[in-house]
Symmetry: C2
Subunit: 371 residues, 2 copies
């Protein structure tokens, strides 16, 4: 294989496929990126057996071929190359020369033959969505995914397409996050559970991209494929029935509180100083007309703070895990948020009037706390 | 004690004295900051038994007194306070209230009586130096301090004042850093060894300060005191005779090389990709007229790069620990650096014509390396 391309294109391509490289694996070929050149096209590929990433970069192919190169080392070398252009040349023993300006480095390469093939997916059922919207949907739900591998279904997020509305759901047993987004076109109904790790990597690949464009998502029984511009991502799906969250979301409430999001977040931030990692001290909210008194007590001391609110319904004394509240508040874009509560033991809902988001949080017991 | 002050002043003061708080200690009072109010002056103090830091902040004293407060928690609370002003009020049981805007927090305080007194130093022998110059002197030498506690003298830096020139020296057995600075005034000759840890914290306290001013340094037998504006730092000195570096610095050389610093640093950076943490692969320099060929070989592959140089004297093949070279190059301000070498086994000197800096680096053996 002999190719030449711009350093920047190679670097961007490597950064994208790095997301599909195994961090820790006993199969050492999975720590590699495949560079392949055929039909005048340069393709980079990675595969960690859960997710495969493939991207095509611009450049010139002088000789077809393919090579497996250690991903971490390739990434480091490419990032530090002295010149704007770079040449890659493999020798018959898989040794690969990287030449850029006055620099000539080589890497111990391996045959690309050993590398697992990327699953093929029929391009039948699909949907299209703006990449920025997809990134936001992931960002606004991924924090409440379960991390217990014994309950594998909770380690994924449900993507449900129904009547051209995409609903993304995550839950971890203490809270639920739901985001809905109306799509521009008509698609067939779908319901899949996508591993959160895949979604996290996709959000990173979209990252802070400056230009928006649409992503095509293809569905199959066991796999899902995302195609954006020159990049293709194929991920396994999680099998099994996702929990029915609809019947957990009650429309009734006894207390409705409207509060400034930043003030509440700042207050939780201060309260969290009193609750060190590990000991989960509740944030106690004492809700009256016009104000909420927020308190926390721990071995380190106690704090108390008043915040202005608009309240409808009953007064209420309720306790929360401060992290669960702040996780949800941080991803809400609105300046004002509305909390719907029933009593000390029933879930609190944070939701908007348009039905774009619902965050359900279970309160926690604080009866053993001095008040 | 009852005091009030600006949040920003308290935060800056706490940040300064935090540098003198013990990280890990069995004496828990050393994890505290003392806040004391007397004669209408608010003073913050810390002491880790090696170094004590004291700073005075502006504010109003309503009631004299003092209290020991957990440094980490105080720092976190102050940083996150909602209002621009803050009140501290201690109760008779050492409980301390912190009030700012609608926030009211308290902390479990302790009697300040237990806290070790700061050593007193006679204000006799002293010198003055610009704080920016002191910060640079520390920054440009501290990287080559020894980290072996069995050789305690090498864990400090020699500050030698002679004929109104301050010479700062550090060494770790493989390299020596020397920086000289002419002082503006006449002072008595001095020679002390200051713990590198103290110097590092002083450099951090000076940090990115926007305004320069002079620091007064007072010398005594066992302690040294730094006074800058409202802050006083007292540190123990390291006892013992510092190594005589003068006789290690030879004026003779066989090969003199002038090279662009950034190009050499970038090349070392690329070479270091081939030498992972732990395995010290040498950077081999093959020096000819007009160019140096730099190579590195390891199990991961090899690299080769040519750099332009101006050479006087003999050709030379010599090997270095790449980190030792780059540590020195990174702190040199000039764009071009000059290396003076004799042979494969003798030290290399990097020095300027004005005699402001000398970096001595021992070469390493590379006879077992394929060339």
């Amino acid at each position: 294989m002999k190719i030449s391309c711009k350093k920047l294109d190679l670097m961007q391509g490597v950064n994208i496929v790095m997301k599909g490289v195994s961090g820790r694996t006993t199969i050492s070929i999975l720590e590699c990126i495949i560079v392949s050149a055929q039909y005048n096209e340069i393709k980079l590929t990675s595969n960690n057996m859960q997710m495969a990433v493939e991207t095509i970069i611009p450049g010139t192919v002088e000789e077809d071929g393919s090579i497996a190169l250690d991903a971490k080392m390739l990434s480091e070398i490419v990032r530090k190359l002295p010149d704007e252009s770079v040449r890659l040349e493999t020798e018959s023993n898989y040794n690969t020369n990287i030449i850029s300006g006055s620099f000539k480095g080589d890497m111990v390469g391996r045959s690309a033959e050993e590398f697992p093939a990327i699953p093929k997916i029929e391009k039948n059922d699909y949907m299209e969505i703006s990449r920025f919207v997809l990134r936001d949907l992931i960002h606004q739900t991924i924090f409440s995914v379960g991390d217990n591998e014994n309950n594998i279904i909770m380690t994924g997020e449900k993507f449900e397409l129904k009547d051209n509305i995409l609903t993304v759901v995550s839950l971890d047993g203490h809270r639920i996050s739901i985001r809905k987004e109306a799509l521009k076109n008509q698609y067939k109904d779908q319901k899949v559970v996508i591993p959160a790790k895949t979604l996290g990597e996709i959000a990173k690949i979209i990252g802070g991209d400056e230009e928006n464009s649409d992503i095509k998502i293809y569905f199959s029984d066991k796999q899902i494929m995302f195609i954006m511009d020159q990049t293709t991502i194929v991920s396994r799906l999680i099998e099994g029935e996702y929990l029915d969250t609809d019947r957990m979301i009650s429309k009734d409430y006894e207390t409705k509180v409207k509060i400034n999001k930043k003030n509440l977040l700042d207050c939780i931030d201060r309260a969290s100083i009193y609750s060190k990692e590990g000991d989960k001290k509740p944030l106690v909210m004492n809700i009256f007309d016009g104000k909420v008194v927020i308190t926390t007590t721990s071995q380190y001391g106690k704090m108390e703070e008043d915040l202005q609110i608009e309240k409808e319904g009953k007064d209420l004394l309720i306790g929360f895990n401060p992290k669960f509240l702040s996780d949800a508040l941080k991803v809400i874009e609105e300046e004002e948020v509305t909390l719907y509560m029933t009593n000390q033991k029933s879930p609190c809902l944070i939701k908007d009037d348009q039905g774009k988001y619902i965050y359900l949080i279970l309160p926690i017991n604080f009866s053993n706390i001095a008040r």
